[in-house]
């Protein structure tokens, strides 16, 4: 599923002032691509994601998915939020099946798929546990399964691993890569970790601070499936370096000399 974002601008009214969250942002995402959006906090990258989902209306500009204009949430969409957003009164399996229930796809028919997805993220045997009995990483795995249950062709992820510890995050990066390769789902992944973005992406979109727009797009040409050790290779580091230099240019990062001079 391809996504086209054309000159999207988003204004917010905040305390009587107009804040420009996004300024004439354009981006094209190809079918089956893994694209990550990286940028400083408050740069509107989550807003961009919500606009792609149809959950937020842009002030100006058009988003089309497979050529169709996005006016609201569409059925081919799966979202993973920053917090897991699991419903605490539902068991793991019931949380995943909620997607089927609300979309009226038949919980019975999709139970098999739900179990398969859970097994895919290493949660077989946990189907009947409740969210409060799971760790943060496990909860986020469940929410990934929930987002994938109805076979979406577009997966949107809003800083899904931001609240997890570094090691859990590494593991989930590996697992996510495997799942995306297996399912061939188009994925847009918002993060503020350069390392995570380089590791996961086919292309990495770098956003400037507010009023933000696309500053640079890096194509990451590292062979799949990538192993965690790829992060110690010169090629990987060259991409990270490039991303850091872009952030320095737009004033998000300041290197040691610059700070001592200032």
């Amino acid at each position: 599923m391809s996504v086209s974002i054309q000159d999207v601008t988003k204004h917010y009214a905040k305390g009587g002032r107009t804040v420009v969250a996004l300024d004439r942002t354009s981006l094209f995402i190809e079918d089956g691509e893994f694209v990550s959006i990286v940028g400083p906090s408050g740069c509107g990258k989550s807003t961009l994601l919500m606009i792609m989902a149809g959950l937020v209306q842009p002030t100006e500009g058009i988003v089309t998915v497979n050529g169709r204009k996005v006016n609201g949430p569409f059925p081919e969409l799966g979202i993973v939020f920053q917090q897991d957003a699991l419903l605490p009164w539902r068991s793991v399996l019931a949380n995943v099946l909620l997607q089927a229930k609300v979309r009226k796809l038949g919980e019975r028919q999709l139970e098999g798929r739900a179990r398969e997805l859970l097994a895919m993220v290493g949660l077989d045997g946990f189907e009947h546990m409740y969210p409060h009995e799971l760790s943060g990483g496990m909860r986020q795995r469940v929410s990934i399964c929930r987002a994938l249950l109805h076979k979406p062709t577009l997966l949107l992820m809003d800083e899904p691993f931001g609240a997890l510890d570094a090691l859990t995050r590494d593991q989930l990066n590996v697992d996510l890569q495997r799942i995306c390769l297996e399912l061939g789902v188009t994925t847009v992944f918002v993060t503020h970790s350069i390392e995570e973005a380089v590791f996961l992406s086919d292309r990495m979109v770098i956003m400037s601070p507010r009023p933000s727009t696309v500053k640079e797009i890096l194509s990451i040409n590292l062979p799949r499936a990538r192993k965690l050790t790829v992060r110690a290779t010169p090629e990987f580091n060259a991409y990270s370096r490039e991303a850091i230099l872009v952030f320095e240019r737009v004033g998000v990062l300041h290197d040691a000399e610059a700070t001592t001079a200032a």
Binding site: Q83, A85, W89, L98, Q99, R103, H132, E133
Partner: protein, 277 residues
């Protein structure tokens, strides 16, 4: 493959067992405190300088309870009837109203100020008016119970409806949830903990409401019993009636807590602190 998860489940079961055990052993502590206070009280009234007309002995209260148990039982039944009818009516009005307020900002703007404003009227002060309108029977007592329990149930339920996070709302929308689905699958279950805490507060208030209404005018119920015993300077009988009321309030509260545990096993107020990871 399955052995690890199964072990985990067993562990959870074991933990739950341990918790219910620790709850059981906590209970006798408070009983022990009550017994100590009771014994001290008995000593003070027997050998201290406290007149039994001012403060009856615990033994006198207990013997009064035993002698008049039949009377207490029927009067308690009357009061309980008022409470139960009043409480259920209150729930039937307050919870749907909270849903309505939670569903629509317009309805909220229209009714919320009126509901909050109405709470500045002390319910107790309008009990005599209700008596004038509805006479000595069951009705005015039930109405006082409704009025006194309505607010905590409504406000807590409303707060629960509004507590749904934006993220959960977005999740529901991304699934294409209808307004009803949003309410039924996301908002209402999420509000249940608040609804229960409102009902728990309301149970204790409902006893107060029923007794006050009986004070104002009635010919039966535990409140009536207290009034009559007061005019006869029979403090032991009054204390006995008060203790019956206390037991009734406690029982109602315990039933509500039990119900909460059954309905919300997942909620933090039900899970014990050391179970969280």
């Amino acid at each position: 493959m399955l052995s690890t998860p199964l072990k985990r489940a067993d562990l959870g079961h074991y933990r739950r067992k341990m918790r219910s055990f620790s709850r059981r052993v906590e209970f006798p502590y408070s009983i022990a405190v009550l017994v100590v206070v009771g014994v001290f009280w008995e000593f003070m009234t027997r050998w201290g300088h406290v007149s039994p007309i001012i403060l009856p002995r615990p033994t006198a209260i207990i013997s009064d309870l035993i002698i008049h148990w039949h009377l207490f039982l029927s009067q308690a039944g009357m009061t309980l009837l008022e409470i139960v009818i009043g409480f259920l009516t209150s729930m039937a009005v307050a919870i749907p109203l909270a849903m309505l307020l939670g569903a629509s900002r317009t309805v909220e703007r229209m009714l919320y100020p009126i509901i909050v404003g109405s709470q500045t009227v002390p319910v107790v002060s309008i009990a005599p008016i209700l008596l004038a309108w509805f006479g000595f029977g069951l009705k005015p007592k039930v109405i006082v119970v409704v009025l006194i329990t309505f607010f905590p149930i409504m406000m807590n339920a409303f707060a629960g409806m509004r507590a749904m996070s934006e993220q959960v709302h977005n999740l529901a929308r991304s699934m294409g949830a209808s307004r009803f689905q949003l309410f039924w699958h996301f908002q209402l279950p999420g509000a249940l903990p608040n609804i229960f805490s409102g009902m728990k507060i309301a149970t204790t208030l409902s006893v107060v409401g029923a007794v006050v209404a009986e004070f104002v005018g009635s010919d039966s119920g535990l409140g009536y019993e207290i009034m009559v015993a007061g005019s006869n300077l029979d403090l032991a009988h009054q204390f006995a009636a008060v203790s019956v009321l206390t037991v009734m309030g406690l029982t109602l509260f315990a039933i509500m807590s039990r119900l909460e545990k059954v309905c919300l096993p997942w909620h933090i107020s039900v899970r014990s602190a050391h179970n969280s990871r």
